[in-house]
Structure formats: C-alpha cells, structure tokens
C-alpha cells in the first residue's frame, strides 16, 4: 500500500486528491486525543521552527494554529503585520526570505490577496501552509468542516451540504466546495443573487435561491459569516432584511420538520445570518468545529514536517 504524501505546501483543497484529504482527516483522529491529555504535548515536531505570518487580522485561526504547533512541541514566532502597510509582491517574498535566512522550517500565512500562499510557496524552500488567502481558499477550515461532518454523520459521501450566505467573498466556501465534492458529497449554495457567483455551478454544485428550500434539501448547513462591510457596498439592502430573507432561524428549522446539522466558521453575527437559539441549539456543531480545528492543523503540520527542508538538504 502506498500512502499519498502531501508534498511541500498546503495551498488549497482544489490541489489535493480525495486520498490526500482522507489521509489528513484520518491523521487528525489520534490528535484529538492529545488535546484531551493532562499534558497536552507530544514531541513530534521538537526542534522545528514555524513562523505564523498574518497579514490580516485573525483570532481564531491564529490561536488554533499556535495551539497545534505548541502541542506538537514546535517553536513558534508570530509576525502580525497590520494589513494596509504591507504591499504585495517583493515585500512579501522579502519578508519570507529574511525569515528563511533565520532557518525556519514552516510558514503559516494569512494574506488578503488570493494566491499569496502559492506565490510564497513557489519561492521559498520552507513548507507553506495557507491560513486563508483573499477570496481563494482556507484549506484548514475546509478540512475541519469535513472532519466535523464525518464525526457527526460517519461519512461524507452522499451527504447533502448547503453553503449559505456570502459565497462570493468567502474562501471558506471555496475550500468547502472542493473538499465536499472530492469526497462525494452533494453541495448546494444559497444566498442573495448578488453574493452567489453563478460560475460556481460549473463545478457541479446546485444553486438554491430560497433558504427554506435549502433547509428542506440539506443534511447540514454551513452558514457563512456575512461580512458587514458588504452592506455599504450594496450587496444587500440591510442586515434586518438579510435576516428576514436568509437568516437561519429556529422557526425555519422547525418548519422543515427534520434535523439539520448547523456549521458556522465564525465569528458569528448573531441575529443576522444565524439566530442565537440555532447557534446554541442541539444540532449546532460550531464548538466541535473549533475543537477539530486544532486536531486538523496538527495533522497538517505533522504530515508536512517529514523530511528535511531544502536548505538543509542542499
């Protein structure tokens, strides 16, 4: 039996095979238990140095990566750059090359430009993990959503998952679509026409315009965060209007007369895209998603860390 490796970088789920995705999910399983131990630490990445390079504000993802790194005994440095002052292109590569000159093994990068992680990965020898690039992908979020769905349903194949809300600006949506389709799930998108890119239908996803129809169809809803600045940009008339037409409410779920599992990548706008009694309800897996995030990131770090980085080999 040959085991698929992940290669040098994790840029997106689009570039992974179903077997590679399954390898990450299976590897994440034992890492869940490590976080339940009294001493939440194993020595697997002892002596590895990892830089968390965040060009965009992030709390959850950065902390989750940092816990994953520390629980594997890696040494970590956080570099947070306030977004606007950093220009693209050479500056990004210069920053990374300087870090690499300090002999680092891995870079976890969050960047406002789509393609930034790939750009970096192509130019440095250290492993690069994409922690979200522009509107492109957020692969570890996609993976933790897959793991959470697999925990809940025991399988991904044949599941019906509706991704609801601002798909247009969402890298989480893209990573979810790729991952779910590769593992054999059915995917639907639901949201205001202004926020659902029609061309995604070409990937083999359906578009369900009404949230009630999406709820009736789906086994699970992945409710995306509505980025509030979209209102000023004219994508939606008002937050109240959005909640009335697309909000996932207890009443709507009750009307569907069946259990629908609720995911949300956070941070939530309670009362806008999701109501509190849904977010905190019995079918919500929003907190298990956060727990699984650490395990999935540990698995990715562990799988990429094998072998010497290029600067050591040369």
């Amino acid at each position: 039996m040959t085991t698929p490796s992940l290669g040098k970088d994790l840029i997106g789920l689009e570039g992974l095979s179903a077997d590679q995705i399954r390898l990450i999910l299976d590897t994440a399983e034992p890492f869940k238990e490590v976080s339940e131990r009294a001493i939440k630490k194993v020595p697997a990445l002892r002596g590895k140095t990892i830089v968390n390079l965040f060009f965009e504000p992030s709390t959850r993802t950065r902390i989750s990566f940092e816990f994953a790194e520390k629980r594997l005994s890696a040494d970590t440095v956080n570099v947070a750059t306030s977004g606007s002052s950093v220009s693209k292109g050479e500056t990004l590569v210069d920053t990374a090359r300087n870090l690499e000159a300090m002999r680092i093994d891995m870079v976890v990068i969050r960047h406002p430009s789509s393609g930034a992680a790939q750009f970096l990965g192509d130019r440095i020898g250290s492993n690069v993990i994409n922690a979200g690039d522009g509107k492109h992908e957020h692969p570890t979020q996609g993976l933790l959503d897959l793991l959470t769905l697999r925990d809940r349903f025991g399988r991904i194949e044949g599941l019906k998952v509706a991704i609801c809300g601002d798909v247009l600006h969402s890298r989480v949506a893209r990573s979810n679509i790729w991952g779910l389709l590769k593992l054999g799930a059915e995917v639907a998108l639901c949201g205001p026409a202004t926020l659902i890119p029609r061309e995604l239908a070409e990937l083999g996803v359906q578009i369900i315009p009404r949230i009630d129809d999406a709820i009736a169809w789906a086994d699970a809803l992945n409710v995306l965060r509505l980025q509030l600045e979209r209102m000023q940009a004219g994508f939606i008339p008002s937050l109240r209007e959005y909640n009335r037409v697309f909000g996932v409410t207890r009443e709507r779920l009750d009307r569907a007369g069946k259990d629908v599992v609720i995911l949300h990548p956070g941070p939530m706008n309670r009362g806008v895209e999701i109501d509190s009694d849904v977010a905190d309800g019995p079918h919500s897996v929003i907190l298990p998603q956060v727990t699984n995030g650490v395990a999935v990131r540990m698995a990715v770090l562990y799988l990429l860390a094998g072998g010497a980085p290029e600067w050591q080999a040369s």
């Binding site: 085991t3 034992p30 194993v42 594997l72 799988l303």
Partner: protein, 181 residues
C-alpha cells in the same frame, strides 16, 4: 528466496503466554495496582491476552491500556512522518501503579525508549516493567526486558514476523531471511 523458520506455533505461543502471565504477576509482586499497556499494533493484542490470563487466575479484571508511540519517535526528520497514527488510551491514572509495557518484538530498544517518554507524560508509575514475546537482540540503547517469551539471536538482515489471531487469523512467530544461530 528468503528462508522462513517457524519458531512458535499456536500451542507454543499459548504456553509461552501463560508462562509470561505468571512471570508478570510474580515480578510485579501481585496484581495490586497492575496495569498492562500494549504498544500498537500487536502489543495491544498480546497485552489483552495476558490481561485475560492473569484476570482468570486472579479472579479480577486487569486494567488495560494501549500506546501509540509514533509521535515520540526520534526519526521523524530522517524518514518522514508515519502516516497512520494509532490510538493511545490509558486507564484513568498510571500514577503510583505498576505498568507493564507489552510488545511483540524487542529489537533496537528505540520503540521502548519512546514508550517510556510517552508514559512519563501521563504520570509517574511506581514501576515500569517490560514484557515482550520475542527478544531478538540487536539493542542500540541500554534497555532490557523483564519478561520474555522467547530469546533469539538474529542479524540485521533477518525479520521476525509475529502473527496474532485477532489481526492475522493465526498465532505464530516466524524468522524470515536467516536461520537462528
């Protein structure tokens, strides 16, 4: 063609295990605070068998655990990650107990070194003993077993294959690639 020598069959393995079960109790000074911990994969099955045998003669269940030492290996950067990491689960506490590590084959000692490190992260047992079905020599670390089913002299080219009913459908120990010296 590599030569295959059958060292233990079904019944030989059964009698080796019952002798080992008695020795484990003897060397642990009874079953009070005794915990058997098998190393993934086949150590887990052997530990369960030994616990069953001891439990039967002593008339009480013996706590069992399993240990996957993958994340404690010392060769991650040289040979890359082992893709399949197995389950680790230990009884509620190992603090102050007598822990018997059970594995199928003792060779370089590196697996046991990793297991000792991992156990230390779960607590401080009163004693740790090592029980192996086969001791094939070839140690690279100062580690020895307290209870041994069978001792062998082997070379680096040999392979010792242990099969257990639960996973392989039969019980056997085979030496592949050379004859015992």
């Amino acid at each position: 063609m590599p030569s295959v020598t059958r060292l233990l069959d079904d019944s030989a393995m059964a009698s080796a295990l019952s002798r080992m079960a008695r020795e484990v109790v003897e060397k642990s000074g009874g079953t009070r605070g005794l915990v058997l911990v098998g190393i993934q994969r086949r150590g887990v099955e052997l530990a369960a068998r030994l616990a069953g045998l001891i439990g039967k003669t002593e008339g009480k269940p013996i706590p069992l655990g399993k240990l996957d030492i993958t994340l404690y290996r010392d060769d991650l950067s040289t040979i890359g990650p082992r893709p399949r990491v197995g389950e680790t689960s230990l009884p509620d506490t190992i603090e102050g107990r007598t822990v018997v590590i059970v594995d199928d084959v003792l060779y370089t000692g590196r697996t046991i070194r990793a297991a000792l490190d991992e156990l230390a992260d779960f607590g401080r047992p009163r004693r740790i003993l090592l029980c192996v079905l086969v001791d094939r020599g070839g140690r690279e670390l100062p580690i020895q077993a307290d209870v041994v089913g069978q001792t062998l002299d082997t070379t680096g080219d040999d392979r010792v294959d242990v099969a257990v009913k639960e996973l392989d459908g039969r019980d056997s120990v085979e030496l592949v690639g050379g004859a015992p010296l």
